[in-house]
Symmetry: C2
Subunit: 300 residues, 2 copies
């Protein structure tokens, strides 16, 4: 199971107590930080997100409201004597930006920071539990979305049944992989009798700042949760287009066409104090929509 | 009259809801921002400090807890279409750090930013109302303190008396400068009869991160308010020395030897949740001491 905690849901200038973009995708064993606006480390402390569980950070693009908090977070991790590796994925210029700020402070990190410049669409991480890939979105500067897909979970052994059929413990792993069991008498016990289906693998797609772009649809098709920016209300579609941002109904249209299970909207413009209209407009096109609210954890 | 509002009073890593260093020295017509840790722009919004009144920013040194909020603040000023000039004083490397972050965002400021690299001790600003100078302190990297001195205020004309003696309005400016008035009969009316003393010019000294250093004493002698860092309690004097920081009693000793009117202490280490001991220890050496508390405005 995955959980998504929103740390910042505002665009550009922090307003009405709303912070710039940052969110944490939580698995049982690690936290993935997605974008890191100014104040992210304070938001993590406020909402009890453990810095030490953050193994990978993904930066969509180099507008300040998506990364100005990165250097502070990294610096604090080091001051707190972090020792675990940290993997950072983002535009190639990020390396120099971090580098110069470490140099002028005459500081050295207490841990290994592996920087992975994102040069093209494709897979960034592929391990036992998860595949993480990146795809292009259309913004004023180079900008990427991220797609997180859990690996298919193994079937779980049905304790009552394996005892009833006398299956040796040494065969459990094969059962989890889906194999049938053949006993000494040559009788085949079907896997379905001995196991339960694994928990369904979940998926999350993050579409950072982007203009309405139908090429996104195929990239995020069918995900369990889609985050799509909605900087503006429908009435400001022209402004959205001009600034390479999206509106509520545009985000909802992408969600609908991509047949995702649920949509979460955020990156609200500072011109809006109340957000009710965002939800109303989005739900008018795609019913299963929620607002990104800081401190809330959305279960996937 | 001057007012000092504390926006951040913690050192290094933000902790216990305390923010990294930033403070605003307020005059009637402008705000001077002194250091700018991460989250300063949010703190300014929270404590009603107007960004538009900030005319000059002073950065003591390039440890992150003193400047990581600068790029976000400047960026927000521009997004809000600031047009007034902004003057920035700090270590020379700051120009490149800001420059690279503007370039990768393909952004241009809406206002003129004048960067004044600090290369040596001396006067930074000398205008009608104020002289602002910088002096070296001793830290792990190059670090400066700042001294703000109001210009001597002109004497104010005593309305009742000037009418009684029939002084022409055209002579008021000379009265403010301290001249006596000689009437047609050749009688000299002494200035003291016709005017009241101007409000006393005030002074504020900011000693950013520094080890205990008696060369500071002469530089801040007699100021109305001295801010001196106290990262550690007295018991951690060795640690303070090692990290080029000061303790409570060391700050108080500087205040006492410099015969300042009042001492404000801050830059508290994240190892301390409660700050009572800081005040008790400091006052044991220098009675007129206060804690830097976020959101509080200290009148000078």
């Amino acid at each position: 199971m995955l959980g998504l905690t929103i740390l910042g849901c505002n665009s550009a200038v922090p307003s009405f107590g709303r912070n710039p973009t940052a969110q944490v995708l939580q698995t049982q064993k690690e936290n993935f930080l997605i974008d890191c606006g100014e104040g992210t480390q304070m938001q993590m402390a406020k909402w009890n997100i453990r810095r030490s569980k953050v193994t990978r950070i993904f930066i969509s693009h180099l507008h300040g409201d998506h990364y100005f908090g990165l250097i502070g977070l990294i610096n604090s991790m080091s001051l707190l004597n972090r020792t675990q590796d940290l993997h950072l994925y983002g535009p190639k210029e990020l390396e120099e930006i971090i580098g110069i700020q470490m140099r002028v402070a005459n500081s050295h990190l207490s841990f290994k920071l592996f920087f992975h410049p994102i040069l093209e669409e494709g897979i960034l991480v592929d391990d036992n539990s998860m595949t993480i890939s990146t795809f292009n979105v259309k913004h004023r500067i180079e900008c990427r979305g991220f797609l997180f897909r859990e690996k298919k979970k193994p079937r779980s052994v049905n304790g009552e049944q394996v005892r009833a059929y006398g299956i040796p413990v040494s065969f459990y792993e094969k059962l989890q992989e889906g194999q049938d069991y053949t006993n000494k008498e040559g009788t085949v016990i079907p896997n379905e009798v001995l196991t339960r289906p694994g928990i369904r693998a979940k998926s999350y797609a993050y579409c950072a700042d982007t203009v309405y772009d139908e090429t996104i649809i195929d990239k995020v098709r069918g995900v369990d949760l889609l985050y799509h920016e909605t900087t503006y209300l429908k009435a400001n579609e022209d402004r959205a287009q001009m600034h390479f941002h999206s509106t509520t109904t545009q985000a909802a249209t992408i969600a609908q066409k991509a047949e995702v299970k649920k949509l979460i909207i955020g990156h609200f413009s500072s011109r809006y104090e109340k957000l009710d209209e965002f939800l109303i407009e989005t739900r008018s096109v795609f019913k299963d929509s929620v607002l990104a609210q800081e401190g809330t954890c959305y279960k996937i």
